[in-house]
Amino acid sequence: MKIGGKPVDGWTSVALLLTAGYLFMVVWPLITVLISSVTNADGFSLDGFATFFSSRLYYGTLFNSIVVTVCVTVLTFIIAFPLAYFMTMFRIPGNRTIQVLILASMMSPPFIGAYSWILLLGNNGLITRWLKDIGLEVPSIYGFAGIVLVLTLQLVPLIFTYLMGAWRTIDVSLLEAAESMGMTGWRRALKVIMPLLLPTVLGGSLLVFVRAFADFGTPMLIGQGYRTIPVLIYSSFIGEVSVDHSFAAAVAVIVIAVTLGVFLLQRYIVDRRTFAMTAMRAIEPTRLKGWKGWGVYAYVYGFLILALAPLVVVVISSFRNTLYGQFVEGFSFRNYVSAQRDIVRYITNTFSIGVTALVLLVIVAVLVSYLTVRRKSALTGALDTMTMVPYVVPGLIIGIALITAFSQPPLVLTGTFAVMVLALAIRRLPYAVRSTTALMYQFSPSIEEAAVSLGASKIRTLVQVIVPALAPGILSGAVLSWVTIITELSTTLFLYNTSTQTLSLGIYAQVIRGQLGTAAALSTILLLLTMLSLFLLMRMSGGGKEIRI
């Protein structure tokens, strides 16, 4: 049987099924948000948008968010570029370990950064009190400065790993050619290397932009009076300001418009300047001497200390004694012991929800990437585009969309295990599909044809040949997905109840309730879980190379 010259087989049904699933689970909920943004009780109305632009209290948050995001995006690049440059060009003691630690700081739960900087520099923070004792007044960590500090430290590693990956593709002969023409040092870095890295930089910067723009936990914890747009969405949806869902939906639509605009702009720029490069000879790092060497070491190690400080602080704090949630003198295991019932519940939920979401995610990612690589058609093209949707839609809005679409009969999913799994899988799918697609492209179609020619059915070919051959890549991708699933906060914020509360949701709830000791203990456990997963990833063959988030 043929349609349009292409054979119709089981894969067509799979494509149809996945498309239907996506339309129902992702596209439809987002459409309900769009509809809800332009309607009120009486039908069509732009009141939501009108309200937003009528008060500085509201549109000011958009302005705040854009200022924060632009600052963070620029700062991360300014900090990460020299970092990557030094790590590639010069021999730095402990290079490999530094890279792993920077990676670990990137993978740590995002809002832990904000929380532990409060522990350090907050009103009652360690450093604040210490400086007060010697008579110094520190500027407040709360507000704009704190958000920028935390997000920058959080996101530098992201663009750093992008840059390191791209740097590996630059052949040393390019640098030697520049040198032979008399161009060295910083001038060479800016005139030769930077333009070559531009597509990567833009790709990484887009991610930084989207992440910083959509981040909810950090401004919620450390922003105080400085409200960003995700905080506004949260509070208006939860009913702190007003129980106006059409307003929250309107703000969500504005956010999506901004991220989509940035995404398209980045696409447009990258499409016109991509360079195909493979390094025959990679850059050989040189040894530095004298003050230059010390300067470089100070920069690299200094950043490392700043990036790791929050993690160390959280772990230490978890053993400090607390009274009514606040830290007091002395160390013990009390934080862990007193919260043990919660801890067990959180961990159980994290694993049961996380693993289910992961399995769903991996299966869908394998199917979608197979379809888009091997069965190119209008249908699979549309499917590929749809899987990318959550890439530009912040997690908070995915949560809102799911709640809007599935909170009334016939399908009530709010508060269920299923909706948590669904939300996490949807959130992570664009990344998983991308990495699996890259694997699939490297996999020769003739291997599949060989299996078919030997009499294997389609399902047998997939299960016995394709998946096992790609297993190492799929597995390391899955570990990365796992780490992001267990540290995800904003997507599930609207969807959980006590029976589906995970570790990261638990930490958030404890911080908001002022139970700092319990929060530190939970954070330490989550951190430990993350580190164990990353350790596992490093031990897997070729795992270290796959790291992209």
Binding site: K2, I447, A450
Partner: protein, 361 residues
């Protein structure tokens, strides 16, 4: 034991015709090669036979049964790919055993057959290696064993040697030929390398632009090319454009001023007008008399030299010299050339089709 018949076969890609109308018959046990430049449709045709490409019109039959709609997995074919296509996560033995597993052959029986298959390509000692730990030649041997072990009705090979270095290529083509002979399996082989094709094939189909130009044994194709494309694609040749002259019931061509060649017994009775004459390099040799020519250059290649010389007509002729002259000829040396009339082929200048007696008419 399979014969293959391709009838009025047509292939299109997005409206572009790749193969307009193709007919071929392949005999049982035959080693049949599809030969042509890249883009000629040979791989497309092979993949249609395998079941990986759709068929827009016409039929493919195995033993008289049309198999157009039979999926690739049920055609009972063994296929060898250019990039080997071994399953990277399976050892050599597992790769070879895969087709037996899908055929639900009992374990003991399967193990015995895998052992024999690996033995036949001299790979038994590496049966536990993964593909990544084998050289290209070793991988292709395993791939061949994997295709043969299932005792397929038909063996298909898509440029299996083109990723190997020159020396291995010669060695592997002998292995392939021996294995095919021993198994007696009908084989369709695709290559763009005419020397390889001549070395392994019983018969060759020369293809260009989706059209079969000529089908025949290697010797037939080389000695009696059906058209100018085949003459130039298979081996080297010199092409001279001349007029056929009918005189006193004889047919003559004037190779050089005053040097007329009698081709009455070569060309068909209807041949007339302008022709292109294909002169193989080995059909020309230096002599004490004959066509006067001036040497352009001589390239020493060890066992022989390759000489280019300009005829008085201005045409440049390339030929082979086996002489043991101590010094090479240099530009401007005067030589005389003798042409072996029996090794010439004449084509109609306009159509490029052979006008030789018995060809095409």
């Amino acid at each position: 034991m399979t014969t293959i018949a391709l009838h009025a076969l047509r292939k299109e890609y997005a409206g572009q015709v790749a193969i307009p109308d193709l007919n071929l018959e392949i005999a049982d046990g035959e080693f049949f090669t599809l030969l042509g430049p890249s883009g000629c449709g040979k791989t497309t045709l092979l993949r249609m036979i395998a079941g990986f490409n759709s068929i827009e019109a016409g039929t493919i039959s195995f033993d008289g049964t049309v198999i157009n709609d039979r999926p690739a997995s049920e055609r009972n074919i063994g296929m060898v790919f250019q990039n080997y296509a071994l399953f990277p996560q399976m050892t050599a033995a597992k790769n070879v055993g895969f087709g037996l597993q899908t055929r639900k052959i009992a374990r003991a029986e399967a193990e015995r057959r895998v052992g024999e298959a690996l033995e036949s390509v001299r790979m038994s000692h590496l049966k536990d290696r993964l593909p990544g730990q084998m050289s290209g030649g070793q991988q292709q041997r395993v791939a061949l064993a994997r295709a043969l072990v299932i005792q397929p009705a038909l063996l298909l090979m898509d440029e299996p040697l083109s990723n190997l270095d020159a020396k291995l290529r010669v060695e592997m083509r002998d292995t392939i030929r021996q294995a095919q002979r021993a198994a007696g399996i009908t084989t369709v082989y695709v290559t763009h390398d005419q020397e390889e094709a001549m070395a392994v094939s019983d018969r060759i189909a020369v293809m260009n632009l989706g059209v079969v130009q000529q089908v025949g044994s290697p010797a037939e194709i080389y000695r009696h090319p059906a058209n100018r494309f085949v003459a130039e694609f298979i081996g080297k040749t010199n092409i001279l454009e001349r007029d056929l002259v009918r005189q006193d019931g004889r047919t003559l061509v004037e190779l050089s001023a005053g040097q007329r060649l009698d081709v009455t017994d070569l060309v068909g009775p209807s041949a007339t007008g302008k022709v292109h004459i294909s002169v193989r390099p080995e059909a020309v040799k230096a002599a004490s008399s004959g066509l006067a020519a001036e040497v352009v250059d001589e390239t020493f290649l060890g066992s022989h030299s390759q000489v280019r010389a300009r005829l008085e007509s201005g045409d440049i002729i390339e030929f082979l010299e086996f002489s043991r002259r101590s010094a090479l000829w240099t530009q401007g040396d005067r030589v005389f050339l003798e042409v072996d009339t029996d090794q010439l082929t004449l084509f109609d200048a306009a159509s490029g089709v052979s006008v030789m007696r018995g060809a095409g008419d």
